[in-house]
């Protein structure tokens, strides 16, 4: 799919050369300006069409509107990259919106005004009214929901959160850990709840009862995670390992370990969930359950373009597989804990 930049210095220059006119004339034709002779215009338009360009002004290329909450958080960039790449595979462009600038319902209006194919929503909550409106207006919409409950009528793309949580804890069990804490998401987050249930499942399968003292719900927030992990480490019987439900929380656990004078993984193992770019640059680099964020974005873009072309997805809810990436933040329980 990649072009060698040196191989081709722009369609407009090429067409200008082939038509024997200036670059500025080709640009005028593209913009529909009147000051170009009829025969020149016809010659340039024919060459543009031959090169598969670049429709004349007034009929914009296909565009997807991708709306995020606020373009923050380490996974946002990776999802955005996937959407832009997935859209490019379908010869579509991506326009970016944020819901902290205007409400979803205004973006639904804007989607019409922009002449966009439809919308990809990367947000944690979608109000009932907005869901109704999407269904009523037959607007092509795909939800990317690391956090929220999938809506039946609207196609959505997520990951296998339960499996991922179970895999993370199984990894710690295999290393010999028995007292394992969790920095979970908030209870209202479906994705967070699924990861917590994966934790419970893995412990249950190993015959280890869940100790409520080891379960700490918090937002996917660094400071809250430092506080929650500090509380876990201050328990009379602290955990030898922690499963953090996001990279941000795992970084909080590393910082809590440092503040309490513990070394990771010698005194505390930490396994993360996300595996964004920050995981590999942590100190130590994090063992993490990888969410295929870029694939999620690609699948969302492909699904949206198909929806716009009248092709419904085979299933309304797509869950992409997670996988464990082992790095240096996990090891066998250390001497302190034996």
């Amino acid at each position: 799919m990649r072009e060698r930049p040196a191989a081709r210095h722009g369609l407009i220059s090429e067409v200008a050369r082939e038509a024997g006119v200036s670059v500025s004339t080709v640009s005028k034709v593209l913009h529909g300006r009147p000051d170009v002779g009829a025969s020149t215009r016809a010659r340039v338009e024919a060459l543009l069409a031959e090169h598969g360009s670049a429709s004349p002004a007034g009929s914009p290329p296909r565009t997807i509107l991708a709306v995020f909450r606020d373009l923050a958080g380490p996974y946002t960039l990776e999802v955005a990259r996937g959407i832009v790449n997935g859209a490019a595979d379908q010869h579509a462009h991506v326009t970016i919106g944020m819901t902290n600038r205007q409400s979803i319902s205004r973006w639904l209006d804007e989607c019409n005004a922009l002449g966009a194919l439809g919308m990809i929503l990367v947000i944690s909550m979608l109000a009932e009214l907005d869901q109704q409106r999407i269904v009523e207006q037959h607007l092509p919409v795909v939800l990317v929901d690391p956090l929220s409950e999938p809506t039946i009528e609207i196609p959505s793309v997520g990951v296998t959160n339960w499996n991922g949580g179970r895999t993370a804890v199984q990894h710690l069990l295999t290393l010999g850990h028995r007292r394992i804490g969790i920095l979970a998401g908030r209870p209202h987050s479906v994705a967070g709840a699924a990861r917590l249930h994966g934790y419970r499942a893995a412990l249950g399968e190993a015959g280890i009862p869940v100790d409520p003292a080891l379960v700490k719900p918090s937002d996917f927030d660094f400071d809250e995670a430092v506080e929650a992990a500090t509380q876990l480490l201050a328990l009379p019987e602290p955990p030898t390992a922690v499963f953090a439900a996001s990279d941000v929380q795992a970084l909080g656990a590393l910082e809590a370990a440092r503040r309490s004078g513990r070394s990771v993984p010698d005194d505390l193992s930490v396994v993360s969930f996300d595996d964004t770019a920050v995981a590999v640059m942590a100190s130590p680099p994090l063992t993490a359950v990888r969410q295929p964020f870029e694939d999620v974005g690609r699948v969302a873009a492909r699904t949206l373009v198909q929806l716009a072309d009248g092709i419904a997805p085979a299933v309304p809810r797509m869950e992409l597989a997670t996988r464990l990436v082992v790095r240096e933040s996990t090891g066998a329980p250390g001497p302190r804990s034996t």
Copy 2:
């Protein structure tokens, strides 16, 4: 500028209610469909105009094309957020492109095809031919260049790299450090060179000669930085502090310290440059020179919209001020180094 989502359920719904028609009818008017009665259409169009909407289909809202290399790296998201916010302030949308998908010159074509106002280029290099073409075609373009040499004819937005580097090293000198290493950028990076010269200037002002053994050029890359910092720490007379020219390199320095059994800041101080979201989540949180990435994006968007309206910037090159944010990775030289 923010709307409370609950306060307003969408322009289309509002107009539908006020016009006494269905949401679907308003949508048809917006799309220019024929199956709406003339008086209904007139009523709906008047209400849409009154609400300052949402031009009818066929005349798309103003759009900026923002082209990145690859939507990777911790600062990209913050620059993108600034561009989207800055564009929204000017009632413009942002379409995202990547140069690893197609060359700059194809994006210049695409900018015409999209009917975009112009382009913001967030890339490290701009070929001579592309620069010429931008100037020849009078295409509104603004460069955001954390890395590359500003081009005289094309407006650009960057930060005060030299000042920032000098401030970082002055901070370490004030804490009592005298043997200070630098994880610098590559020599071809103008921004990196400016930060290195800031380092030299601060040392020079303090009467400390630059020891070439303490200067390690590397890419803004984690693994390279780990290696370079490891070499610094293995010197017969290792530094007591390191100035890293980017957050990614500072994280590499933290990891090199951990691997060599050093505690930060007790055994080694680390000051970073960037202060992206990863700096505050590092362990320990990084003292860093803050680049105002979001402001850079905002200024670039505002400048581009003004250019498209025929208003040249007051100066072609804008440099926004950096500032030092002190956190926990810097302190006085520890007992090991005395």
